[in-house]
Structures are given as structure tokens and as C-alpha cells.
């Protein structure tokens, strides 16, 4: 009798453990700044559509690629995840579902199709440049519209530096380059983009292609180094060498710096800080060739796991995000992103995002080149060189030589 009871109990337990699958899909999110709005949207979407969308967020210092690979190894790969450019594409290309012909593809010119078939849903149009605090500049008597060349920018920084107490700033620029703060990307990717794509036509990848062959344009690189020197010399040294993301945002957001090297993804952070001052972008003015263009691209893409059992639900989720009112409202109003899709009438709230939307629309923009570098190159190889330069341990020639040496190793990576 006891034996029969035990057998029945065991069977009940086993049967009870088999999930009644509600076609749940899981999503791996890399952008920490949209964690809260994305999860809220996923919850509302799940309630309205009968299948659950579960969002996991890693990023902002945590190793996103490591976590997604861990999920793959454990057999619980995400249905939707994100990649950023050719490095991610080359790693994952065998497992990306073909999204050619989907409704959202018709609504954008930025769908990701490096080898012909569409694999990526552009999450947002992002842009970065040198953000400025209009109120501080006005008090100092500097007109941001005149800051279109390196000399003008350097003059402005000198002036601001001389008026530090009056303006209540600790330094003219909020720039970050520290490894320990996890801010290598600000210097070695975004600021360095002036070398990759500055003052070149949007689709001109000549410098990037040179680097992929292991070569550099020394003159161009030297000019860039002069720009970096100005950025580092007039930056708050604490934030530059020790600071993390929060430190840099707080410095600019509380009015303690007049300029910041960052992108429009910081808008939600400034909203949280209650920073209401008027702000905008000037270009990364690395030469004396005048320019007002900021750097704009759709850098990250949602991709669908080709081996997922729930491909249809995943694709529906993506199409709805681009084409329904709820999805567009989430993208623009809740997450503060600039949409990559036409037919979106909602305008982003953040001032930096508005500037990016304007630049994307008018075409007064440069592309992003750093995403084409091999995985880990920007973080592990370039990052330390920028930190050494920022700390004053390398001079301009030393920097140029070291970067050239580093780039020379790319063909072997």
C-alpha cells in the first residue's frame, strides 16, 4: 500500500513539474538606461497579448556578452537579444533568424543587413557629441554656435577655466577615461570616433578600413591627439581618472561642468537628477575645419535567436514595438529613445534626444566607426592607452605611436 502511494506521489510530482507552456519569450537587454521602461512595456504587452515577455538586463559595466553566452551554454538561450555591429554579427551569425520582409523593415532605412539578409531591428537612433550647458555658457558670454573649430573650443575652455569660481564649476569639461570606473568607452570609442568618422561623409569608411588592414593615417591621428589633449587638460581630473558613469553624469547634471562627452542615452539620467537647464550639442571639434555635425547611428539591434521555439512570438513583439502606438510611445516617451522608424509622430522628451532626432532628420551627422573593431579591442587594447594619455604618462607622439602599434595588430586578432 505504502509503495503504491509513493509511486503515485512521484508521478504527480513529475507531471506537475512539466510546464504548461504559455509561449513565453525571454529578452536579453544590454541598455541599462531603458531597463525600467522596457520591463514596464514588456509587462503591459504580456497582459495585452497573452504571452509573457521576460526581460533580463545586463550592461553598464556588467559583461553582457558573457551573460548571453552563459545562457547559450546552459541551453536557455534568449529568444531576443542585442548585438552591436559587425563584431556581434560575426560571433552570432549562424544563429540569427532572417527578418527580411517583416513589416518593421519597410518602416526604416537602418535595419541591419551586413550580408544581404536582414537580421537586426534598430533599437534606437543614438547620437553623441560634446553636450553643453547653455546657461553656464551664457553666463560666461560664450555663444555655442561659434564653437565649430578646435581653436574656438580651446579658447572657450580657457575662458571657462579662468571663471571657475564665478560659474560654480570645478572644470570646464566632464570627460571620463578610467578603466576602474568602467568608462573606457567614453574616450576610446566615442571621443575616438572623431578619428574614425569625423568630418567624413556618412558612409565613408576609409579610415575604418585602413585600420582593419592594420594601418593608420598618422597626420589625422596626430590632429586627433591634439583634440584629446584639450579634452583631458580642461576636464575635471577626478572624474577623468577615477570616475564612473554616475560621477560623470552628476558632475554635468549638477552644473559643475559646462561640457560633457556623452550621448543622448543620458537624457533619462538627467531627468532623474532634475537637471532642467537648457542644453544642446556641439560637434566633436577635433580640427579647425568648421563642423556642427554630431555622430549618429543605430548602434544596437534586437536580433532573434534562429534556434528559438518561439520565433513567431518574438517577431510579433518586435513588429508591434515599431508599428503600434503603445510600442512607439514606449520607445519615445518612456525610454526616451529616438526611433529609427518613419511614421512616428511622438517627439522625445530629452533635449539631447531632440538634437539627435534633428541631426538624423537633416542629415547633418557623421557615422560611427568604432563598432567595426574586433571584439574586446576597444576595451582591452585602446582603453589603457587613452587612460595613460589622460593621466599624462604619454605625450602626443607617444600616444600616436602606441595607437598605431595597437591598430597594427588588428589583422592578427
Amino acid at each position: 500500500m505504502k509503495k503504491i502511494f509513493l509511486i503515485v506521489l512521484a508521478m504527480v510530482l513529475v507531471l506537475g513539474m512539466s510546464t504548461t507552456a504559455l509561449a513565453d519569450i525571454s529578452l536579453a537587454n544590454l541598455k541599462v538606461e531603458i531597463d525600467v521602461p522596457l520591463k514596464a512595456y514588456a509587462e503591459a504587452y504580456s497582459a495585452a497579448n497573452g504571452f509573457n515577455v521576460k526581460v533580463d538586463t545586463f550592461g553598464g559595466g556588467q559583461d553582457y556578452h558573457g551573460m548571453v553566452m552563459a545562457a547559450l551554454q546552459s541551453g536557455e538561450m534568449y529568444d531576443i537579444f542585442m548585438i552591436e555591429g559587425i563584431g556581434g554579427y560575426n560571433t552570432w551569425k549562424d544563429s540569427l533568424y532572417d527578418l527580411t520582409g517583416q513589416p518593421f523593415v519597410e518602416a526604416t532605412s537602418l535595419a541591419y543587413a551586413p550580408e544581404g539578409k536582414v537580421v537586426g531591428f534598430p533599437i534606437a537612433v543614438e547620437g553623441f557629441g560634446i553636450g553643453y550647458n547653455a546657461e553656464i555658457l551664457e553666463k560666461a558670454g560664450i555663444d555655442p554656435a561659434t564653437l565649430t573649430t578646435l581653436s574656438a573650443f580651446e579658447e572657450a575652455c580657457k575662458k571657462l577655466d579662468g571663471m571657475k569660481e564665478e560659474l560654480g564649476i570645478t572644470a570646464p569639461i566632464a570627460m571620463a577615461a578610467s578603466t576602474s570606473g568602467g568608462m573606457w568607452w567614453v574616450a576610446a570609442q566615442h571621443n575616438f570616433n572623431a578619428y574614425w568618422k569625423g568630418n567624413l561623409a556618412y558612409n565613408d569608411n576609409s579610415i575604418v578600413e585602413l585600420a582593419l588592414k592594420g594601418e593608420v593615417d598618422k597626420e589625422r591621428l596626430t590632429q586627433y591627439a591634439k583634440f584629446l589633449r584639450v579634452m583631458c587638460d580642461y576636464a575635471d581630473q577626478d572624474v577623468l581618472l577615477n570616475g564612473n558613469y554616475d560621477a560623470q553624469i552628476n558632475l554635468f547634471g549638477t552644473g559643475k561642468a559646462a561640457f560633457i562627452q556623452q550621448g543622448n542615452w543620458t537624457d533619462p539620467n538627467f531627468k532623474d537628477l532634475g537637471a532642467t537647464f537648457k542644453r544642446g550639442y556641439i560637434a566633436e571639434v577635433w580640427t579647425d575645419e568648421p563642423t556642427t555635425a554630431i555622430m549618429v547611428a543605430a548602434p544596437s539591434y534586437f536580433v532573434v535567436n534562429a534556434n528559438s521555439p518561439h520565433v513567431d512570438e518574438a517577431i510579433k513583439f518586435l513588429n508591434d514595438m515599431a508599428l503600434t502606438e503603445a510600442g512607439q510611445n514606449y520607445m519615445v516617451k518612456e525610454a526616451g529613445m529616438v526611433p529609427a522608424f518613419s511614421g512616428v509622430t511622438v517627439e522625445p522628451e530629452g533635449q539631447f534626444s531632440q538634437a539627435v532626432m534633428k541631426a538624423a532628420g537633416s542629415g547633418d551627422a557623421f557615422g560611427w566607426g568604432f563598432a567595426e573593431m574586433p571584439d574586446g579591442f576597444n576595451m582591452d587594447v585602446l582603453g589603457p592607452i587613452f587612460e595613460l594619455f589622460a593621466a599624462g604618462q604619454l605625450d602626443i607622439d607617444g600616444f600616436v605611436n602606441m595607437v598605431a602599434e595597437a591598430i597594427a595588430t588588428i589583422p592578427t586578432l
Binding site: 559583461d63 558573457g66 547559450l72 577615477n242 574586446g376 587594447v381 589603457p384 595613460l388 604618462q393 602606441m402
Partner: protein, 297 residues
């Protein structure tokens, strides 16, 4: 006499042995296999590259720098942790008032996990100490201790000592309490003062504890990762052999960055194999040397 039923033994051992094989043995063997290929973590077809990964590793200045840093850190850490733990253990086994409270108190930092520990101390080093230095005008604190390549390893060791010394102290306390009291009394009657009693009687009697603690601190320091990531994330950039490198990137982090961040699993795996061999060698030598000094009671 009870009947011997060997199959019962096997059955009871099976779950543990299975777990051990699946979690330790299989990945270990697979890892050695991967170290001879160009696996990138995701690709399903592999090409055999022979000893290339091993050769490249020794030509990479960043790897050599990590190795050197790990050795440096290990030596500093072993000395600091054991000296501090030993002194603390003497303190809590003497007649100090409140010694039970002290014993618990010194152990509490050990309960804080690796990542949280690192982030808390990063805040202390980067913000608290800097503000303190600024308001009190102390020049030595004008630059964060973890942003200076000369002091970052010492700072990491300090934090690790803060966390780990309590645990090692407990081992010493247990050993000290196992020494018969009449031995120490006899020595003091014979005219030995406190330092002599400690050096000539206490420490030789504790030799087996030293074997254990030296082994623990050696392996703990060599394998350090979570504190490394959260406190310094590889730390300030520095020049090594004329190439840019990271001044506090220990071996485990270097392996992780090579394999996961740069997606060169073959390379990373080769480094891991060397890491394993070196650590096994060091541990065996250390245990052999310590065992020779143990006294049988």
C-alpha cells in the same frame, strides 16, 4: 558481523561522484581540448591550432604583466593576511576584556561577499578618502589609492586582508586552544618571556595550522577575481615592457577578458591550463615544505 553490500556504498556515492565528474572533470578535460583550438565561444566548427595558443600567451606582454602582478599580490597578501590573523589570534586568546566580542567582530567582514566588498571599498577609496584628504589637507590622499599603479596592489591586498584575516584568525585560534596550557605555564616558570614563548613553543605547536592557512591564503590570493573586478576592474592603465597594460589585472581577470570579452576561448583556455599547472605546483611545494615542519604531539 554485518553483511558487506558494496552496491549500497556505490549508490550512496553515485550522486556526489556524478556531480563531481560533470562539474569538474568534464569541463576540465574539454577545456584542455579547447586550448588546442580556435574556439570563440559560439562557433560550432573548430580548427586545431596545436600549440599556437600557448606560444602566443608567452609573447603577450599583458599576460606576462598579469602573471607578475599575481605573484606580487600573492606574496604581499600571504604575508599580510597571516601576520594580521596571527596577531589577532594572539589577542583574542589572551586575557583581554571583551575578547569574545572581538572574536566575533573580527570575523564579521568575512561575511561580506566579494563584489559588494569591492564596491564598498571602491567608494571608500575614491570618494571618502579623497574628501577626507582634501578637507584635512593631506597630500598623500590627493590621488585615489586605487588609481595609482604603485599603490593599487597594496590597496587590493589591504581590502582582502580586511575581509579574510578574520577567517584565518579562527583557524589559528582553534590551533592555539588545542595546545595544553601547562606547556606555556611551564615555559614561563622557566623564565621565558612572552615573545620567546610565542616563537619557540606556540608557533611550532601550531605548525599544522600554518600548513592549512598558508595553503588557503596562497590559493585564495592566486585565484582572486571578484574583488579584482569590483574594486579596480583591472585598475589604472600602466606601461609594461613599453606596451599599454592594466596595473591591477590579475591572472583570473586576464583569462576572463581574453576568453569572454575578446571571445578568444582557445587562448583563454590555454592560459587557464597554465594557471592551473602553476597553482598546483606552488601548492604542492608549499604543503610539502610545511608538512616537514609539523610536530607530532
Amino acid at each position: 558481523m554485518a553483511r558487506r553490500r558494496p552496491w549500497v556504498n556505490v549508490l550512496f556515492l553515485a550522486p556526489v561522484v556524478l556531480a563531481f565528474v560533470m562539474v569538474i572533470i568534464v569541463p576540465f578535460v574539454l577545456g584542455i581540448y579547447y586550448s588546442f583550438t580556435d574556439f570563440n565561444g559560439v562557433r560550432t566548427t573548430l580548427t586545431f591550432v596545436g600549440l599556437d595558443n600557448y606560444r602566443n600567451m608567452f609573447r603577450d606582454p599583458v599576460f606576462l604583466h598579469s602573471f607578475l602582478l599575481t605573484l606580487q599580490y600573492t606574496v604581499i597578501n600571504i604575508v599580510l593576511v597571516n601576520v594580521v590573523a596571527f596577531l589577532l589570534s594572539l589577542l583574542v586568546t589572551s586575557d583581554t576584556p571583551g575578547r569574545n566580542f572581538l572574536r566575533a567582530g573580527f570575523f564579521v567582514p568575512n561575511l561580506i561577499g566579494g563584489l559588494v566588498l569591492g564596491y564598498i571599498w571602491q567608494f571608500v577609496f575614491n570618494n571618502v578618502l579623497l574628501d577626507l584628504g582634501r578637507s584635512l589637507g593631506i597630500a598623500a590622499l590627493s590621488r585615489s589609492l586605487i588609481s595609482d599603479s604603485g599603490t593599487v596592489i597594496w590597496a587590493m591586498s589591504f581590502v582582502n586582508t580586511w575581509q579574510y584575516a578574520g577567517y584565518i584568525m579562527m583557524i589559528y585560534v582553534a590551533a592555539i586552544q588545542g595546545i595544553p596550557a601547562n606547556l606555556m605555564e611551564a615555559a614561563s616558570v622557566d623564565g621565558a618571556n612572552y615573545p620567546q614563548r610565542v616563537w619557540k613553543i606556540l608557533m611550532p605547536m601550531m605548525a599544522s595550522a600554518f600548513t592549512v592557512t598558508l595553503f588557503l591564503t596562497l590559493t585564495n590570493s592566486f585565484k582572486q577575481y571578484d574583488l579584482n573586478v569590483s574594486l579596480t576592474n583591472g585598475g589604472p592603465a600602466a606601461l609594461f615592457m613599453g606596451k599599454p597594460s592594466k596595473a591591477s589585472q590579475l591572472l583570473a581577470m586576464n583569462i576572463y577578458n581574453t576568453a569572454i570579452a575578446s571571445k578568444r576561448w582557445g587562448d583563454g583556455q590555454a592560459r587557464a591550463v597554465i594557471f592551473f599547472l602553476v597553482l598546483v605546483l606552488f601548492s604542492l611545494v608549499q604543503v610539502w615544505m610545511s608538512k616537514r615542519k609539523e610536530v607530532e604531539m
